[in-house]
Symmetry: C2
Subunit: 211 residues, 2 copies
């Protein structure tokens, strides 16, 4: 964890950790807000994609929210109106994307250039959630990376590299160890916040540092 | 459902339905806010206690949140700070109460006097969540009702009455049929809102009637 912090941003321990799953509409909404909010308080944000449906819900013994009776139907209603309420461009998809290739590409690029990796994550989130284009395929992820100057074949090879797969697996394990269980999930000065609806509390914490 | 609406408030279809579980800290927080918010827009609120842990989570195939790995720990952190953020008096209990007697007493009294039933629910929620006094026992519920002028023995008898038990069971079945799955849960003009953190969206809807 220490190494992970050191290679990200100059602020060190004052960085905000932003966990999200590419398959999560609320995670996307969080991604549209957190950097600007952090900047207002002189903070930087470390983006940390996770895998809720594939990994973390298994640890919790839960079904994915969209597959949960009653809750699944509700999310289809709540996501579009929450996006409107937050003023975030949004296109509700017929089904959630598979986040695996996006998350792997992020951690792979991040070893090279944290800023470039964040740009790729933003581009993928916009494609999926603002434009309604499914980001599941390796080809689409490679196209988005290519638009940022990364060789297409290099990205496609990286997505199959066992070392890259392990990078993501380690990141998810670390998130679970930190008590992360949802998307978006923010950790600020050790305070944990789950949900885009907790951004007002994140702001309160950044302003006051107490409750 | 029609009968149920008719015996509550003069507003009929413009009433806000407020579903909550007496065991839910967030339900309590919602109870501190919803009547005042509704009144600002000329609305009345029908309170509808439900049983999440005992009934609704079974339909959803979920464990209760406090018994869910990772999420359980988080709620112990999030509840107290959310109460502070909302400006609501709060005492975090060592364990959640059993909501059965409180919910039965509510639906029993409501047949007689909807306003009295709401006063009892408020008193019980304050005892549990602002004063930290466990409201599980029939005796405590009867004491609270007695403070509102209801004969103690009458309440104790009602809590064992199969017809009263059925009133509550029917209310929970109706809530599930309406898609309710959490606490607090608000239904306004057919729009469903889950969570005390959705009160800003309830307010937006009451003000604009659109998204």
């Amino acid at each position: 964890m220490t190494d992970d912090r050191q290679d990200n941003g100059a602020e060190g321990g004052t960085n905000i950790d932003f966990y999200f799953d590419f398959l999560s509409s609320y995670g996307y909404m969080g991604s549209c807000k957190i950097d600007e909010l952090a900047a207002r308080f002189g903070r930087q944000v470390t983006w940390r994609p996770i895998l809720l449906g594939i990994t973390i819900f298994k640890v919790m013994g839960l079904k994915a929210p969209l597959e949960t009776p009653l809750k699944g139907d509700y999310i289809h209603i709540d996501s579009p109106r929450m996006a409107k309420y937050l003023g975030v461009p949004y296109k509700h998809p017929a089904q959630q994307p598979n986040p695996l290739n996006s998350a792997r590409a992020y951690y792979w690029l991040r070893q090279r250039d944290a800023s470039l990796a964040k740009d790729l994550a933003k581009a993928l989130l916009v494609r999926q959630w603002a434009q309604g284009i499914d980001i599941s395929s390796a080809e689409l992820v490679a196209d988005e990376a290519a638009a940022l100057g990364v060789e297409r074949q290099e990205t496609l090879a990286a997505l199959q590299d066992p070392a890259v797969k392990q990078l993501l697996a380690d990141a998810v394990d670390q998130a679970i160890a930190e008590g992360v269980f949802g998307s978006p999930f923010f950790v600020v000065d050790g305070e944990r916040f789950w949900g885009v609806d907790r951004l007002p509390l994140v702001e309160h914490w950044l302003e006051h540092g107490s409750w």
